[in-house]
Symmetry: C2
Subunit: 296 residues, 2 copies
């Protein structure tokens, strides 16, 4: 079993990427060990726990995923031993690691030492007392960790990767129409495909629907969009921008993107509304300020 | 195969419900007909089309679902012939209908006449030119129906069912703390469980985390939460409400709810940001205005 990477566009910003993983399906290994839908139901097994070989004197890194995800061959959970055609390096989890596509990185346990089928979630710190989100009312003095589920599938997110923050865009002198190209990525958890990306240069008063790159994520199989979808939008900045540049020589513009996934989930407008004490799953609309200047 | 209903709390408002469905798994019927993951891949079959027996001179009602959903026994797609222990009535799709849990009602085709495994989606009007959402920029004069996916899994939603709009809540005379109980439901598509519901009486400045009813949806299996989750929150209205009632005899309060699902998807704050020409998948925060009055 192999996960192919989605080749990226040239990147102007950032250091994230996709990779090609090769390994064995966890569902095949579990079947070999006698763990199937039937035996799991008979023994009330609900979670697959992973334990890493990285540990201090008292504990190791550990996490778990729902057994229905582990046993579902369509979810493509791998015990991976190769990355990009080479054996895993130490930093990437040699000799073997879990790859759980569509699921938060914290459950993709590296340096795998043990796999446990259990009625219970991993009791590890990072499963029980970290990587959870709460209401904005909850802070460190009143948090009840058990009240929220451990993050598994991630929510929908998108980001502008080009232009970068504070880029200067030079407008031709005297022009009344300043064109811009904005690029970025979008991704949703659980394999949900990206349905649409909207870009705005006027704080959401008007939107430009981006082109989704058919060679970089837009054509992934239904509910198996494990990799990002890259997008691009070229449009003319609002007339007020050209007017401000003509009058003052330069102006600031805030670029904004937001995505919609195939379940028609959307991203929250403001980070304030989803504030949470650990600062996780912040998927608010992404904003990048740029400067538009008159060219000499 | 049977889907059990989730019993509801007493309802003060509304006429929606859950039901118990009995039938055969579509995946078993497809296997009997030779349609499996392997034969589907070999024949490039990507969709299961349903045709209803309801038709006019030229066309019938029809829709399709991705074949990966139809073939996945965990998705519990049924060809149902009983509802709540009785044969289907005519209004509910006698003699047999599709039940596709977690998926928009439009694909739960009634009065089933034909099932087609195909490389293509249903070409029916309601699959191709309806039940899709677009950017707010798209209107009837510029819509390109092909540019958006047909709604399948629905996004996260929640609603306040009690108190109803414009309910009068009587505060005890002279009281400085006015307590209220707010109830409702929450639901997300694709079987995603409800993680949390927040309720506000001050336009989102502060939030009260609701109790999710363990007997009415809160304990559904992971990613198989086909039914709603009922919730309830009892809290003291903001001091400004009691002050306004003391000063003026009555005041208006806007109650607000929003849910979070197990993928940490959230609902959009404002309907304006997700406006679309067909008015579908509007899952903005739900608001209910009530009047708080001084009791005699």
């Amino acid at each position: 079993m192999q996960h192919k990477p989605i080749k990226g566009l040239a990147w102007d910003v950032g250091a994230i990427s996709t990779a090609e993983w090769r390994g064995v399906r966890l569902s095949d290994v579990l079947a070999y060990c006698g763990v199937t839908n039937d035996t799991a139901a008979a023994n009330k097994l609900q979670h697959i726990q992973f334990e890493g070989l990285d540990h201090d004197a008292t504990t190791c890194y550990g996490a778990s995923i729902p057994i229905s995800v582990a046993l579902n061959p369509n979810r493509d959970v791998l015990l991976a031993f190769e990355m990009n055609g080479e054996p895993l390096t130490r930093d990437h989890g040699f000799p073997v690691r879990a790859i759980v596509p569509g699921t938060v990185a914290a459950r993709n346990v590296k340096w795998l030492g043990r796999i446990i089928a259990s009625p219970n979630e991993s009791q590890n710190h990072w499963q029980q007392r970290d990587y959870k989100s709460f209401s904005p009312e909850i802070d460190w003095h009143n948090v009840e960790w058990r009240s929220a589920p451990a993050i598994q599938e991630m929510p929908l997110q998108s980001a502008i990767t080009s232009p970068g923050p504070n880029t200067k865009l030079a407008a031709k002198q005297g022009t009344s129409e300043i064109e811009i190209t904005v690029r970025g990525y979008a991704w949703s958890g659980g394999g949900r495909n990206i349905a649409r990306v909207d870009v705005s240069a006027d704080d959401g008063l008007s939107w430009h629907t981006a082109e989704l790159n058919p060679d970089a994520g837009a054509n992934q199989p239904y509910n198996k969009a494990w990799a990002w979808t890259l997008w691009e939008s070229t449009f003319v900045l609002p007339p007020a921008v050209a007017a401000a540049v003509a009058a003052k020589g330069e102006t600031e513009v805030s670029l904004l993107c937001r995505a919609v996934d195939a379940s028609y989930n959307s991203q929250p407008e403001r980070g304030e509304s989803i504030w949470n004490l650990r600062g996780v799953v912040n998927n608010a609309w992404h904003r990048v300020p740029i400067r538009v200047v008159a060219s000499e």
